[in-house]
Amino acid sequence: MTTALKVFLFSLLCSLPAWDLAWRFLNDELGANPVEFLEHHTGDWTIYFLLLTLSITPIQKFFKPNWNRWLMPMHLVRRVLGLSAFGYALLHLATYLVFDMGLSLTDSVNDIIERPFILIGMVSLILLIPLAITSTASWQKRLKRHWQTLHKAIYTLTFLGILHYALLVKADLFQPLIYLSLFAILMLLRIRFDS
């Protein structure tokens, strides 16, 4: 199988949750609060894919798998995972803007200004854009050593994404704390290996 085909199939696999949501949307299977359903699921998948992206380096350092043999080159696996996270974040934002804000600019601006957790989510998504754009090999070459510095922003952005979730919860912080713990573990594994 060519690498291009593998990348295509792997991307398709990562997009399955989105197809599931689309199917439910078309068949009226999103439950009592369809917009909340879409927002929660696209938000969850964003965080899952961010955490998966962050787990590539630890997997490499612990297990040194033969990426090429099992799947495809490591940097391509990570790129597809990272771009999937970005895709789900965009769907998340689109749901919010269309159904929560009714595409009203004034409502959106007011909401962003007044609600800290909306602001945090919005800022982290905006900051993901340059990472998504520069994820290609040609950008990597062009930016040289700056590329890695830029892409380390993913650490902060993942944390902000989890914070965005934690701040909207009414009382039960269980799920955001699980995400935060996974994030902390993935970060700790890095510290040990970098030193």
Binding site: A32, G102, A171
Partner: protein
């Protein structure tokens, strides 16, 4: 599980009822879990056998009512709007009786200025294994709010006895306040002199006040309350002052700063 009831013609507004599929499967009832699907999924964990409601405190005739006694009171159906503090809403046909009817039976004294509602506490309830809230769930009303004709003790919904996930066997319904004020599975009603603290006030005092009247002009600290999404709908509609019951209840709050007393 059919109940004996009559439709009260004064409370049959021409509103589109929420699909029972939604109202009976999308619930906030943290005793049975914090996700919206948990209460339905864990409904069998709530045991309503031999249910009693104790009414005590500032009254001349403190009484313990068996559920059967309460079901002997005349049951009527009323269609109410219901607005959750989270920004979703529904229109539901409740069955029950005015709380005032019950309170009059115990003869409140002049010291009874507030009413406190205590919900079930049971180690078998999955949500109560964690101190997400200060259990048992407590709520409160001012005496005049409790005696208001709109304030209902509900025993049924959509023509049938309350399913467990909706707060069986008996719950409060205060249609002009955010949903969390309408306590579920009530075991005790206390008449008291001082304003009680509700579980949500204890949990997050800056976000949940004692009054919690539906008010599109006073935002929750983390989201706007100007609009609401009816269950089953993609788009939002405007939230009405006092959830559409302004004519009936605005007088209760005359001269009060509703931003301060949120």
């Amino acid at each position: 599980n059919a109940l004996d009831f009559s439709k009260n013609p004064d409370y049959q507004p021409r509103l589109k009822l929420t699909d029972p599929e939604h109202a009976l499967h999308y619930n906030n009832f943290y005793e049975l879990g914090t996700s919206k699907e948990d209460p339905f999924r864990n409904a069998d964990k709530l045991n309503t056998d031999n249910w009693k409601v104790v009414i005590e405190g500032e009254c001349s005739k403190p009484t313990t009512f068996d559920m059967d006694d309460l079901l002997k009171l005349e049951q009527e159906e009323r269609i109410y709007r219901f607005r959750c503090v989270e920004g979703w809403s529904m229109v539901v046909p409740w069955i029950g009786f005015p709380l005032a009817k019950l309170l009059k039976q115990v003869q409140p004294t002049s010291k009874a200025k507030f009413v406190e509602f205590v919900s079930i506490e049971d180690s078998n309830l999955p949500g109560q294994r964690f101190r997400i809230l200060d259990w048992p769930y407590r709520e409160g009303l001012r005496m005049d709010e409790a005696m208001h004709p709109l304030t209902l003790m509900a025993t049924g919904i959509y023509g049938e006895a309350l399913p467990n996930q909706n707060g069986a066997p008996i719950r409060l319904v205060v249609p002009w306040k955010y949903g969390f004020k309408s306590s579920k599975s009530i075991v005790k009603i206390r008449l008291v002199e001082k304003q009680p603290f509700s579980s949500w006030m204890v949990a997050t005092p800056s976000e949940y006040g004692f009054y919690s009247n539906v008010n599109p002009n006073v935002s929750h600290p983390r989201w706007s309350q100007a609009k609401e999404r009816p269950l089953g709908s993609f788009f939002k509609q405007k939230t009405l002052m006092f959830n559409g019951y302004e004519n009936e209840v605005a007088g209760l709050y005359k001269g009060m700063d509703l931003k301060k007393y949120f």
